[in-house]
Structure formats: C-alpha cells, structure tokens
Amino acid sequence: MATEDTDTGPWSDRGFALGGPDELSEREQAAVEACLRALADDEFVLAERYTEWQVRGPTLEGDLAVANIAQDELGHARLWYDLLEDFGHTEPELIWERPPEDFRHATLVERPFARGDWADAVVRGFLYDEFERLRLDALADTEYPRIADRVGKVQGEEHYHREHARNWLERLAEGRGDPDNGHRRVQEAIDRLFPHALTLFVPTAYEPDIVEFGVRPAPLSELRQAWLDEVVPVLEDFGFRLPVAADAHPEAVDTLLPTARGRDGEHTDAWADLHDEFTFTYRQLDRSEAPRLMVDPDDADEGGDHP
C-alpha cells in the first residue's frame, strides 16, 4: 500500500515517487512537461498527416481504417495535452498559437506523403506504432500518477494500429497484384523514413531528469535498442534492406540521423507548411480561444475502465 494519503484517485493503491501537478518541484515539472510535449506532439502531428488520407485511401475500407487510426491518435494527443493544461497552459498556447519551432515531435511524423504513396503511410505507421508500444510500456512504470492513470487507455487502442500496419506491410511485401510495385515502394519508404524514425529516440536536455525522476524510467537509448531488435528483423524477413543491423553499435546508428531532429525544435521544411495549414482556420477566424466540444478527459468516463 502507498504510505502517502494525499489522494483517493484510481492510482492510490500504488506508491508514486512524484506527486500531483501542484506538488512538483520546478525541475520535476520541467521533466514531466518535456516528456508530455514529445508524447502529445508526436500523436497530434501524426494524426494531422494521417488525416490527409481521408477520402484518398486505396479502398473505402482502407480509408476508413486509417481515418479511424487518425482519430485514435488525436484522442491520445488530447489526453496528453490535457495533462499539460494541469500546469496552466491553455489549448491555444499548446496548439493553435504555438510557434512551429516550439513543437517537439520527431521528424518522422511531419514528413509529407508523396501523392498516392500508400506504402509510405504503411511503413510510417509500422515504424511509429512499434515505437509507441515500447514508449507506452515504459510509461506504465511512470512515477507520475497523472500519466499512469492514462497509459492503459491509450494502450488499449494501439493493438489495432500495429495489426493494421503489419498486415498491410506483409501484403505489400508479398506483392499481390503487382509484386515489384508494392515491394519497391516499401523499400523506398524505408530508405526515406528510417533516419527520421530514429529521431523518435533523440533525447532532449531533460532526458536525464525524465529518467532519474521516473517520469519515464527507461531511457530512450534502451527503447531504441528494443525497437531495432523488433523492427529490423521483421523488415528483413520480408526481404527488405535496412541501413543498419539490429545489433549495430549505437554510434553507428547515430550517424544515420538527419540534421533536423524535431525533439529540439528543429524541423524539416515540411513542418512549416503543415503547421500553417492546421492553424489556418484559427487565424482566419481571428480566434483567441478554442471552443471545446467534448468534456474534460477527467470527467469523461467516471466509473469507466479505471482499475
């Protein structure tokens, strides 16, 4: 049992090293915020990109499936942005009025899709969702109760994403219909996206604190190794070439990183356009706040799937 008696939330049966949002030291709060920004921005920007496939998917069913996944990711982003609001940030500050260079997502999620290049969406989903699983597993052990409370909810929707990505990958790799086309497009997407996928694991200046305080107890370097062990063999088994072996030395892997790495605020050229696009309506309507259509996640499902 937890010794502290400060809260009666659903997490109260487990002890946490960190307190609620009002109980953190300045350094602890900075670490929690840095961790949440990477999480929320990854999900939000990926959802923005996925949404471009809406009404443009290869089939009606494929279209709905990817739109459904985009909706899931937006929902996850909302859960994480909501935790940043605990610290007094408003939604416009976090999304609609935030300068593009303040976003902390990895460059993988901001890259544009070439017109009709479904293999790109499939490879991107595969690389991202395998990372997402590892990150969520690590966050299940978080010492910050507000994150712990929400991890399970997000994990529940990720299984479908991974199955979706793997099933498509398998079929494109096997090549039904035109084998060369599917296989070639996946290989090109791997060549193009793999370096950007590595930016998912680029640590920020807050990484030592994030790990030390247990916001995410497993360091990104550990997650990257686990990710390489997972994705490299799967892709190689399908007959694709990878730029590194799963057991390559970390320094060798680092050399593949692109110059812009996202997590430090430096992004690729595609980001400015995407940012401009999703903030366009907000600016055009001269908004200063974001209307809320849904109840706060904390009030949304009382008595729902909490442990």
């Binding site: 009606l60 069913e61 459904n68 979706h164 099933n167």
Partner: protein, 113 residues
C-alpha cells in the same frame, strides 16, 4: 473479395446481417469489419463470411417451395384458439381449476392431515 458481416450486440443476441466489406482476404476483412461495423455500435462478436461461401435459396428460383402451395393452416397453433374445440378446452380448464380449488379447501378444513 466481398465479405458479409454479421454483428452480435450482446452474448445473448443473434448475429444479424449489417452489411459487407471489400478486402483481399479474411484477415484484412476482419480488420476492416471492426472499423466499418463495430466502431460506433456495441458489438460482442462479428461474423465475417466470404460472400461466395453463403448458400442461398431464392424464392423465385424454379422448384423452390417456401412453405408449399396447398392450404396447411391447420399447422398454425393460432387455429386452435377459436371455434368449438377451443371452447371445449376452455371449459375443461375451468373445470380443473374449480376441482383443484375444491380439493384445497377440503384439505385446509381437514386440519393436520
């Protein structure tokens, strides 16, 4: 390929036909069916069936007899609830109820038998 989808709302419901999905194979069909037919409606289970595997009996096909062509109204249970037969049954039931009531009152008067 077209797969027909049947959705079961709760464990105690029948699977009902809700539409179909296009997919290259069963695995993808199961994946798509979840989004197409269970995302916004409660579902305990989905049956995803290749359309060509479904055997159909069409009422318009020659030689098909859905219920036959001659009068067989006597097979309907509702036919027994009217007419002389029904009156006899009703009277008989009433007699039995009366007899039962009589037996019960005799017993209670008879004390600890």
């Amino acid at each position: 390929m077209i797969f027909e989808v049947f959705r079961q709302e709760t464990e105690s419901d029948y699977h009902e036909h809700v539409g179909n999905v296009h997919a290259p194979d069963e695995e993808m069909a199961r994946l798509f069916a979840q989004v197409m037919h269970a995302r916004r409606k409660p579902a305990n289970s989905l049956w995803v069936v290749p359309k060509e595997e479904i055997s159909e009996v069409d009422a318009d096909d020659p030689g098909v007899a859905m219920g036959g062509t001659t009068q067989k109204a006597y097979r309907w249970a509702t036919n027994y609830s009217t007419g002389r037969m029904a009156e006899e049954i009703e009277a008989s039931e009433a007699e039995q109820v009366e007899a039962e009531a009589r037996r019960r009152s005799t017993r209670s008067e008879g004390g600890d038998d």
